[in-house]
Amino acid sequence: MKRYLVRRVLWIIPVLVAVSLITFFLMHAVPGGPWDQEKKLSPEVIARLNQIYGLDQPVYMQYLNWIGGILQGNLGPSYVFKDRTVNDIIAGGIPVTIQLGIQAFILAVLVGLPLGIVAALGHNRWPDYVATGLSVVWIATPSFVLAIILIIVFSVDLKWFPVAGWEGPQTWVLPTIALAAFPIAVIARYTRASMLEVTRKDYVRTAQSKGITGRAVVYRHMIRNALIPVVTIMGPILAFLVTGSFIVEHVFAVPGVGRYYLSAITTRDYPLLMATTLIYAFAVAVLNLVVDILYAYIDPRIRYS
């Protein structure tokens, strides 16, 4: 297990290098650069800017310079936010994005799991229909639409929460709900399906015939086994939380890293773009690793070598 862990961790490095290479060269291959704008800058200014930021060098040289900077922990300057470094920008945004992601994840698990269990236990009766109906709606609705609906209902009409921003717990509620909706639905569906399958297993029937009460059967035997496929889905869920945060952060004006990711692409802010891409690649890789490890703990049948 330990060897597996070490191997997986080491594998992250080549993955990140590959991601950085592809991103860097793709980024430079796309037409348009950071200095292109409607009111054109004069050629002298453009030449000077290229010189200041090293964009007048060949692309591979720029990549090596960037790698050199990374190794010293310097993510570079921002081409758009001229008074700040990428390190500052990321440091300011990461805690917010992580907080939003964790809140959404916790909400998704806390609501999704019980919802799926209730649906399975109330199979083909009203709890099942309600839970499944909600899940279908939440899966089908894009987070953007859900976000706007939440704003209209809870902020504009009911005035329970502020519309946007990230200042205090009141502003945390709506973005968390908007981000958690899809994961709740997915977790609920998977839990329900998994529980239904487990109901038919022999060990459940054995437990029931031994006289164990219904609730004890559910808690002691069914849930843990049903959790296995659900843990599998956690990987993609976490990836969704990471990337889905772009839209939620944009609509709710949450000052996280997600907004920068989108804007860095349109403004061709290369260093910021590289940094945010790497962060997301790193996050997805690490989260997948965590899920795989968790998997091994939950299901003793799984052995990594």
């Binding site: 796309v30 037409p31 348009g32 650069g33 292109d36 704008q37 409607e38 009111k39 054109k40 800058l41 004069s42 050629p43 002298e44 200014v45 000077r48 800017l49 200041i52 936010f81 001229k82 008074d83 500052d88 920008i89 945004g93 964790i102 809140q103 916790i106 698990v109 806390l110 706007i148 704003i151 209209i152 902020s155 504009v156 005035k159 329970w160 929460f161 502020p162 519309v163 946007a164 921003g165 990230w166 200042e167 717990p169 009141q170 945390w172 509620v173 968390t176 843990r224 944009h250 609509v251 709710f252 004006a253 000052p255 907004r259 349109t266 061709r268 968790l294 703990y297 939950i298 003793p300």
Partner: protein
């Protein structure tokens, strides 16, 4: 033992999940921004007594204005700013020798008076007494000189350096392409320093600023009112993290109090401001909402006091019983137009261009695709500005005449129908609601002449590159005035090889008229020359002018005493927030 381990793991996970749920119970009252933190003007500036005396018991106790800045300002360094978000903030916290009044006329601001030499080439400014920055330092003449030179310095790579081309010695400093001269930019530090020393701004003493021009440019006072000419202390701007709120040195009626990046920006009255009346407001909270729909929702929920109406809501808010009365339509010194490619394809033929122009009912286009907001434009210089020619309209909507011109064009080009040219590339940028307009025009032209179009929607910067390369026969374009003078609207856009000339129009006579007009010291004669030039250019139909911008805003009824101008950056009255008062509500 094994079972226990698994059980522990599961219990552990659940326990972590259960305990980590820090309950975020929402309080019922959605408090808008931190109103409590507003810094009351401690040592109220000398001028504010006059402002508050003017009215009133009708003023709200809390003079707080909440607006949306839409984006994080890329920079608050005055010499490097070019973005409307940066400029909106800079207009409040930094001021220069002169500024605009509510009619966009130039009035003295930091200068108490100025002299213009008989040849109109030397401007001498005399500073007011007792001017101070927000940190208590005196505002000295050399600070203005430093700031202007820094903007012009090639090493700063300031986007707005080009407005300084009229200053003597600019050709040695700013380079041939920027100022349309033949001298290249100096490369070495020694050359740059030498050129800076010869640059036509100087401070003979602490209270006098002298600007030397290389041509009598009557509009240069407008340039000196821009944010790039505000005084800047060298010791401040060269210190690390100079533009962070805790280090920021302001010279204007407001000062920067708080800047939470990507989240919120707060300005409060500057106690050291003495150059004019001080603000009645005690705080302006600026959020950064990015999404127009979110901003509209914020306004409707009461979290914002003013908002730009999103395109999708233009009609809805006008018809809404509550929002309708709060709608304010304001003309902006901006124009939407579409470039014809005057060197490639059928649009190189003048009759073809005239035919296309006469086939569009511009008012109908505005009503259909712009929600009815905006004024028809038939020329470039915007309403309210010197050089505006409302009667200049050589090619009004007239389908019969259009068809005649098309017939002439087709004959000259040896084709029988417009469709013979194949699919003409019609380029525009996506994500800015241009699809309808492009479709409308393409449809009109297809109906009238049978022309076929390839409507190419591209991502912003990709579109810019392709347009610049001349890939499109027709492409979407727009211009917003930097300062309210015809020179800014005509030179550079319609002069041969001009930096913003996307139609590649080139008429030497036009260029000559523009140069002559720029150097003409008599305002009446100058306007006549600009009119002549514009008439010539419009007659050549290098572009199809469509719409003078009218922006629709919603403003809460308790926001009073704002003065919207066509030169506003983002919101009405944002050239001078110091006039705004919040009425009781």
């Amino acid at each position: 033992m094994f079972m226990k381990k698994r059980l522990m793991a599961t219990v552990g996970v659940v326990a972590v999940i259960a305990t980590a749920c820090g309950s975020s119970t929402a309080s019922t009252a959605p408090s808008a921004s931190t109103a409590a933190s507003g810094a009351p003007a401690s040592g109220s500036p000398a001028g504010s007594a006059a402002a508050s005396a003017s009215a009133n018991a009708n003023l709200a106790d809390q003079q707080l204005l909440k607006i949306d800045l839409t984006n994080e300002p890329p920079t608050l360094d005055p010499d490097k700013a070019q973005d409307s978000t940066s400029i909106e903030v800079l207009n409040q916290i930094q001021r220069g020798l002169v500024y605009f009044d509510k009619d966009l006329k130039i009035v003295p601001e930091m200068a108490q008076s100025y002299d213009v030499s008989p040849d109109s080439k030397t401007l001498t400014f005399h500073l007011k007494d007792g001017l101070q920055y927000s940190n208590g330092d005196p505002i000295l003449a050399k600070d203005f000189v430093y700031s202007i030179k820094r903007t012009a310095d090639p090493r700063t790579a300031a986007p707005y350096a080009y407005v300084l081309c009229e200053i003597a010695g600019s050709d040695k400093l700013l380079g041939s392409s920027t100022c349309n001269t033949t001298t290249p930019t100096p490369k070495t530090d020694a050359d740059i320093e030498a050129a800076l020393a010869n640059f036509g701004v100087s401070a003979p003493d602490d209270k006098t600023v002298v600007v030397q021009l290389n041509t009598p440019a009557a509009y240069f006072l407008d340039v000196l009112a821009l944010w790039i000419a505000v005084p800047v202390q060298e010791k401040w701007i060269t210190s690390p993290n100079a533009t962070e709120a805790e280090n920021y040195v302001s010279s204007g009626p407001f000062m920067l109090k708080e800047w939470t990046h990507n989240s919120k920006l707060v300005i409060v009255p500057n106690p050291k401001w003495t150059a004019g009346p001080g603000p009645t407001l005690t705080e302006v909270d600026m959020s950064m909402l990015n999404d127009p729909a979110t901003a509209q929702a914020s306004y409707e929920a009461g979290d914002l006091d003013m908002v730009l109406t999103p395109a999708a809501d233009l009609r809805r808010v006008k018809d809404d019983p509550v929002l309708g009365p709060q709608v304010v339509d304001q003309a902006q010194a901006g124009i939407g137009y579409y470039d014809y490619n005057t060197v490639k394809g059928p649009t190189a033929n003048k009759d073809f261009r005239i035919a296309l122009t006469e086939a569009i009912d511009k008012q109908n286009l505005i009503d259909t695709t712009w929600g009815g907001t905006g004024a028809v434009a038939n020329s470039m210089v915007m309403p309210g500005m010197q050089g505006y020619q409302p009667d200049l309209n050589p090619y009004p909507y007239n389908l019969d005449d259009a068809k005649k011109h098309m017939a002439t064009a087709l004959a000259a080009l040896g084709k029988t129908s417009c469709a013979d040219f194949g699919k003409l590339p019609f380029g525009y940028n996506t994500g800015a609601d241009h699809e309808n307009r492009v479709a409308y025009m393409a449809q009109q032209w297809t109906k009238a002449f049978g022309c076929q179009f390839d409507q190419v929607g591209l991502e912003w910067k990709v579109f810019l590159k392709r347009r610049q390369a001349g890939d499109f026969i027709i492409s979407r374009d727009a211009w917003g005035a930097d300062y309210p003078h015809p020179n800014n609207q005509l030179a550079g856009i319609f002069t041969c090889g001009g930096g913003n000339n996307s139609s590649q129009y080139c008429n030497k006579d036009f260029d000559a008229l523009i140069a002559q007009a720029a150097a003409e010291p008599d305002p009446t004669k100058q306007t006549a020359l600009y009119n002549q030039a514009q008439t010539m250019m419009v007659g050549d139909a290098p572009v199809i002018f469509l719409r003078f911008v009218v922006a629709r805003y919603e403003i809460k009824p308790y926001v009073t005493n704002y003065f919207g101008t066509p030169g506003d950056s983002q919101l009405p009255g944002d050239k001078f927030f110091e006039t705004i008062q919040i009425a009781k509500h």
